[in-house]
Each structure stands twice: as structure tokens, then as C-alpha cells.
Amino acid sequence: MARVPIEEGFFRIPDDPTEQPRLLGSRCPACGEAFFPRRLVCAKCLHEGTDDIELSTRGRIWTWTSCHVPLFGKKDADVTGYGLAQVDLPEGPRVQSILSGDPDDFAIGAEVEIDLETLRQDSDGNDVVIYRFRPVGGAA
């Protein structure tokens, strides 16, 4: 079964399901600032034209919360809640993302790594996926 992104242009889904997905970013060749998602004009120095980069698969939690409502698209599943975080990546961007795993492992400063969450199946039977982060070494 193929995996398709919830929205194109934000992350790359590897063909090998054991490989981690990669967030698609930009780096300004003039000032070096990195961004997520991709953009043409540098938000810092206004240089026109940026280089495509793939961002690191690990980062640290800047802030997080635990939502006590069902995750969008999973209203009928046995999901009672989910985490959300802003994750600082080594290249610079701060990314808002679903946070999975045990809420006891959620903490500001904790190291997290990226994987994919399946939201639903589309009409062709593909898995619609979105990126998420989970505490490194935490429970699955």
C-alpha cells in the first residue's frame, strides 16, 4: 500500500518504510538562514533564491501540550488524545508537529525524532500520512 502525504511539498516519504521521512527546507545562500517549509525569498535578508535542503531527523522540544480531543480524522478510533510540540531542529527552524509516544516522556528540552502518522485511507486505498515527532528512546 502506497503512502501519500496529507499535503505535497512539506516532507519526503522514503520508499523504504524503515527509513525516516525528511522535512523539506530551504537555506539562504546569502545569509545562511534555514527555513521550514521551503520558500523562495529569504525571510531574514530578503535574498531572492534559496537552496533546497532536507532537515535533520532529530531535534529538541521547545514547548509541548497534550490535547484531550481526538486527532483530526480519527474521530472514530480509540484515540483519546495526542501531543503537539514545537521542535527546534539543529539547522534552526522551529517546527510545529504532532508529538507521539508516552506523555510522561514529553518535556521541554527532550530529544525527539521524526516518523510518520497514518491519518486515514484515501479513496484509492493509500495511507494518508503526516510527519510527527516522538521522544528518542521513549515507548512506542
Partner: protein, 392 residues
């Protein structure tokens, strides 16, 4: 370049709003008409007196503002649509006040309305669509992220947030146009015990969905004096509006309202334009869609030093009889937050306070009112109204 505007010779001619709530069977244009007529009556005017109108709403639809205006009459006046997310109402006011201040209009109207009950589930904007990258990030969750960071950095407690929420619920019960009117005194304990939405925010710390309409008419001061002699004159003093500036750690994806420093910069620009400071402000209104925001804005709007907002809460300085009462109509939390009309409802309450007509919740001696909103995307706006000083 300054982002602040100082208004010259502009006064509030009239205000009107309908109580916010759920009005599934009433067309938005009729809600707008009723708010508009209330404001025209308050001003002692008809639409024939109005030179220009700015209509605002955030529901995803085109042309409905110009159509709503026709409910008030067809006089040929120029009508412009304004949309700036949650800040729409204040921005419509800003444009109306500038139209008068610039001399192109003698009388200008800001009319805003929205119907949450018309917005189809999932189609109400960014964060609601199934096929968008930021679909999982609810506004409540976004502001819960702020709250968690604040708790981490400053030791803020959920009780601090609940105390602000209880204050706004109890103010709302005293305001006839507030959506939520509790039949009992709300305590912080009750707020904390409500259903959790996104930690640490419970349902009683989050604004309700609602429908509503509100209108403000501004005009040349001499016209206002002529139409409503004997009434305290409320001036539009200044307004500032800013979008985001880039700094490291900026988030681009999600229902972004930030960085929070945007409010600080916008407030400074507004104070500078008005030649006033936070020490001159008697009563303030802010974007308390999620109550932890209000705590942050105490500092960002300059009412206390950084790290002292919790002290302000504990000492009750932003409640009845306090040094700087906030959101005396219940704020977005209790008065309601339909979207477009929210900012105009703030001004409605601010004008009542400055006229001395806010029965049951009057801030004694109120002379200057501040109205602040942020809007998703994002922008921030800060606006100042002032009571005419005796002898001027």
C-alpha cells in the same frame, strides 16, 4: 518607519451591537442591519449622513458585506471589505477613523458581523481542512504551547490562568451584550475542574463559538458635538497595526499568531503615536480567546515588567477596582468572539466605560481605553480611545 497613526479631530459618533450568541436562523445580513441601526440611532444619524463604510467578516464568503450594507439603505456610499482574521473589527475601525482623520470623510462606519453557525465544519479556515498540513493544530493547542512555555520559564500555575478566566466570566455576567452569562459567581476551582482541551487549558479557559454583529460610527468632532450635545465626547486617539517580523525560531506552519513580541512592538508604536504610555490607560481590552494570552499581554502591552504578570493576577489588579481592569465585558472568553465583530464589540464596551455608562462594571474615572487584538496569519493591532479632558 512608524506603524502608528495619530487621529486628528476624530470622535465616536455612535455604537451598536447585538448580544453575541448562536442565531442559526437569523441571516448574517440581518444581524449586521440590527447592529448598524443601533449605532445610527446612538449617533442621531441615518445612513444618509455616512460618507464611507468598512465592512468586516472572517467567514469564507465574498460580497456579503456589501449586501449587508444594503439592508441599511442604498445611498451610493463607498464600501470596502476588511478581513484581518480575529483582528478584523479593530482594523475596520482603524480604516474608518483614518478616513475621517485624513479629511476624505466627515462620517465613517465600521460594520462587522460573522456567523459561526454558517461556517461548515472543516471549512472555516486554516487548521480546519482535512488536506492541510496544519490540520491537527487547533487554536487552543497553539495557545496551550504558549502556556506551557510560560509555565516552564516563569513558574506560572494553572491557578493563575484560572483566576483570569474566572474574572472574565464574572465580568461577562454583568454585561448585557455578553454571550456567556453565568448565573453564579465563577471560581478558579470551577474553571480548573472543567473539561481539559489542551493542557493546561480547560473549556472554561477557551472562548465559545458564536454569531454576532457590531458597529461603530466615527465622525469629525464638531459633528458629534452637534448631533449629541451634552454627551461625554470620546475621541479616537491612535492606532497601530503590524504583521510579523522575522526572528530565529519563527514558526511558519500552523495557525500561527506570533511571535508574541509583535504585540509589544505594536503597542509601543501606538503609545508613541498618541504621546501616551500604559500609565495613562484606565481600562484595557485584549485578545483573551485563550486566557493564558491575557497574562502575556499584561507585560507585552506595558502594564507590568516582564515576569510580573502573575503578581498582577494574584493581587487582582486587572479585576474590578484594580489598577488596570482588563476585559470588563468578559472579553473574548465570555462576551464572545464571533470573528469580525469582536474588535468592534471591544470598542463598544470601551466607549460605554469612557462615557460612564457601563452599569454594574463601571471603571470609575476611566479616561483612556486600549483595545488590542491579534489575528491569525498573523497581525497585531493596538488602538487607543480617550475621553475629552475638561476644558479641551
Amino acid at each position: 518607519m512608524s506603524h502608528g497613526l495619530k487621529f486628528d479631530g476624530v470622535a465616536v459618533a455612535g455604537i451598536g451591537m447585538i448580544r453575541f450568541g448562536m442565531f442559526k436562523d437569523i441571516p448574517g445580513a440581518h444581524l449586521a442591519r440590527d447592529a448598524g441601526l443601533l449605532a445610527l440611532h446612538d449617533a442621531g444619524m441615518t445612513l444618509a449622513d455616512v460618507d464611507e463604510a468598512f465592512v468586516g467578516y472572517i467567514q469564507p464568503a465574498t460580497m456579503i458585506g456589501i449586501k449587508a450594507m444594503k439592508e441599511l439603505g442604498l445611498t451610493g456610499l463607498p464600501v470596502t471589505h476588511i478581513e484581518n482574521a480575529s483582528a478584523t473589527g479593530l482594523v475596520a475601525f482603524r480604516e474608518a477613523a483614518w478616513a475621517v482623520s485624513s479629511g476624505r470623510a466627515d462620517v465613517a462606519m465600521a460594520l462587522c458581523f460573522d456567523k459561526f453557525t454558517d461556517m461548515t465544519r472543516g471549512g472555516g479556515g486554516r487548521g480546519g481542512g482535512r488536506d492541510q498540513i496544519d490540520a491537527p493544530i487547533l487554536p487552543a493547542a497553539y495557545f496551550a504551547l504558549w502556556a506551557q512555555r510560560r509555565m516552564h520559564e516563569r513558574g506560572t500555575t494553572p491557578e493563575n490562568f484560572a483566576t483570569i478566566a474566572a474574572k472574565n466570566w464574572n465580568f461577562g455576567a454583568k454585561c448585557p451584550t455578553a454571550h456567556r452569562q453565568s448565573d453564579h459567581v465563577v471560581t478558579p476551582e470551577e474553571v480548573l475542574a472543567a473539561r481539559m482541551v489542551a493542557e493546561p487549558l480547560t473549556t472554561m479557559m477557551c472562548c465559545p463559538p458564536d454569531d454576532g454583529a457590531a458597529c461603530i460610527i466615527v465622525a469629525r468632532e464638531d459633528l458629534v458635538r452637534q448631533r449629541q450635545p451634552g454627551r461625554p465626547l470620546v475621541r479616537a486617539l491612535a492606532s497601530a497595526l503590524m504583521s510579523e517580523t522575522y526572528s530565529p525560531g519563527h514558526t511558519f506552519v500552523g495557525p500561527v499568531v506570533g511571535p508574541s513580541s509583535m504585540t509589544r512592538h505594536t503597542a509601543l508604536e501606538c503609545y508613541e503615536a498618541a504621546s501616551l504610555g500604559p500609565e495613562n490607560v484606565s481600562v484595557a481590552y485584549c485578545h483573551d480567546a485563550f486566557v493564558n494570552e491575557e497574562l502575556e499581554y499584561y507585560e507585552l502591552l506595558g502594564f507590568c515588567a516582564e515576569g510580573e504578570a502573575e503578581k498582577l493576577v494574584v493581587e487582582g489588579e486587572t479585576g474590578p477596582g484594580g489598577r488596570i481592569p482588563f476585559n470588563t465585558d468578559g472579553g473574548l472568553l465570555a462576551r464572545g468572539h464571533p470573528g469580525g465583530p469582536t474588535g468592534v464589540a471591544m470598542l463598544h464596551e470601551a466607549v460605554l466605560q469612557l462615557r460612564g455608562e457601563a452599569r454594574g462594571r463601571q471603571v470609575e474615572g476611566a479616561r483612556v481605553a486600549l483595545a488590542h487584538l491579534v489575528g491569525g496569519g498573523s497581525i497585531a493591532t493596538v488602538n487607543l480611545l480617550g475621553l475629552e479632558r475638561s476644558g479641551t
